[in-house]
Amino acid sequence: MSATLFLQQIINGISLGSLYALIAIGYTMVYGILRLINFAHGDLLMVAAYVAIYEILLFSLPWFVSFPLAIMATGAVGILLDRVAYKPLRQAPRISLLISAIGASFLMENLALVLIGGVPKPFPRPDFFSRVIEVGDLHILVLTIYSPIVTLLLVLGLFYIVFKTRAGKAMRAASLDFEATRLMGINLDRIIALTFLLGSSLAAAGGIMWAMKYPQINPFMGVLPGLKAFIAAVIGGIGNIVGAVLGGFLLGLCEILIVAFLPDLAEYRDAFAFLILIGVLLFRPTGIMGEPLTS
């Protein structure tokens, strides 16, 4: 493999990884506080992409208005999801919560299928993201470069909220000890809502960039990225935000490089992530950044 091609693949891997990272953050934040795999998280990508596409098609909003609006709308959907599907089950066994999450995920996908139809829609990629940069033999879509940059900016903003503000402190406290945080007089429902808002907004940003990268969107577009982002969160150590970002980049790079070096295995691409997951769970179940498990 030539050096240029290799560089190209590295850039692709980082770009894909940045999307996984954005989505994985939402999983890991919700898991940190509620100890729940939010199965419906991946479907928020789909919600964001459809909201964005309809704003552009129906109201012909420019992308820099429609994308933030779609992100906000998806954040609201995330809070609604928690209120409807998870809040009534706070005291219930974990298995009920998970089943509710699976139900919510199927409900969102199939509602979208009924309301919009299963025919994939082409996503209108704004010209701003469609330019191609040529450096020597390299041909790179600017979107490929923008997505890790946008990801890094959003992640920095998130870190500021989580590590520097009072709400962020409450959030970290809740993930350490839910009950003690409640006893300190913190309104946990608001903290949980904020967690869902932040996680869903980041997923929405990821979803819109995903839709621009693979511009055919359908009601089930969020399933596979969602699963892989969850795996990225586990690789990084679930509950740990820095770990989720690292895990996302790592998974994206691995996926692209394995396919680049072993093109015969390209058909099995979607199985790699699960094999990596099984390996991580077998040898280091707490992931890269996770604390060792205590009994």
Partner: protein, 346 residues
């Protein structure tokens, strides 16, 4: 109630069931037979799925993988070499699948064994983890099986699938297997082994302290569940006579989950009821996907509406009546008797 009377009643119930099946077999329409076959296959699947999710308390999300293995194994073994040659246009089927053909019964047995063998292999990583991790790892295995079915063209014929299987599955096969599955699994749950499984579900550390080895106990339950799922997969393949990887997606697992949640997690009776309600109600709900005529008005059918209704039902049950129909109780002769006596006393 004496044990003798109970087993007498059980035998009578079985005779009644097979008597009704005999009448349907003789006078029923093809559509009715198909639904009855579906019900029996889903009973087998739901009862064996409930053994893991309800009785052991592990949220296992990969039964679609076991069903796929069973369906492909049984189909590949029961087809004649000539039929395989017709089916495989992408490439020659690998030796020795291309030359062997076995009777349907043997192929079903092989389907169960293949699924159980696969369950044995994955039980090592799967049973090391619990809770959400177990859910996602089993989900992953289900997906990996589907990816493999799509990619291994010389074994499974890839995305094209296998067509033109003989419709060997009839009421006797499907209901026979369902009966055996219910009896075996119910016996297991009622035995010491089942008690240990429930102890693990309620408090694993305490069960371990009592000398229960969770890994070995759960492994046996996992293997039995996979065995019956595999056989049911074989029956399913020879009922619909065409299989392809897309048939065994996560939706299949989702449907099974609805059945056991609606019936009541942890109750075999509930799983049976859930399976009957789902296959029956699922057919009845087809109305919403077809256009309806009200005199001058026509309401167009909405494709996909059934899945919306199913997801709503699942969420409603889990949010508002988590126990489902049966909770964890079973419908037994003793239970019926106590109900009758209570009514008389009143």
């Amino acid at each position: 109630m004496s044990d003798k009377l109970k087993s007498g009643l059980n035998v009578a119930l079985l005779f009644l069931l097979f008597g009704v099946l005999f009448l349907f077999n003789r006078y029923g329409t093809g559509y009715q037979l198909r639904i009855l076959n579906n019900i029996a296959i889903f009973i087998t699947l739901a009862v064996s799925y409930n053994l893991i999710n309800g009785v052991c308390g592990l949220l296992h999300l990969g039964p679609n993988g076991f069903i796929a293995i069973g369906a492909y194994t049984s189909a590949l073994l029961s087809m004649t070499p000539a039929e395989k040659e017709l089916n495989f246009i992408l490439g020659q089927v690998i030796w020795p699948l291309g030359v062997i053909q076995v009777p349907f019964a043997v192929s079903l047995m092989a389907a169960g064994i293949a699924a159980a063998f696969f369950a044995f292999l994955i039980s090592f990583p799967v049973l090391r983890v619990r809770g959400d991790y177990l859910a996602i790892v089993t989900l992953g295995f289900g997906e990996v099986i589907r990816v493999l079915c799509n990619a291994a063209e010389r074994v499974t014929n890839g995305p094209l699938g296998l067509k033109g299987l003989h419709p060997y599955t009839n009421l006797w096969w499907s209901w026979g297997v369902a009966t055996v599955a219910v009896i075996v699994i119910q016996r297991l749950i009622a035995s010491n082994y089942g008690l240990a499984l429930k102890a693990i579900r309620e408090d694993e550390a305490a069960a371990r302290a009592m000398g229960v080895n969770p890994f070995r106990r759960l492994m046996l339950a996992f293997l039995i569940s996979a065995f019956f799922s595999g056989i049911a997969g074989g029956l399913l393949a020879h009922l619909i006579t065409t299989i392809s990887p897309s048939l065994f997606s996560f939706i299949l697992t989702f449907n099974l989950l609805i059945m056991i949640v609606v019936g009541g997690l942890g109750s075999t009776t509930g799983a049976v009821m859930g399976a009957v309600l789902f296959s029956w109600g699922g057919e009845a709900l087809r109305i919403v996907e077809q256009p309806m005529d009200f005199g001058p008005f026509t309401i167009p059918g909405i494709p996909g509406m059934r899945m919306v209704i199913f997801s709503l039902i699942l969420m409603m049950v889990i949010l508002f009546s988590r126990k489902g129909i049966m909770g964890r109780s079973e419908l037994s002769w003793d239970y019926l008797e106590s109900k009758l006596i209570a009514r008389k006393a009143r």
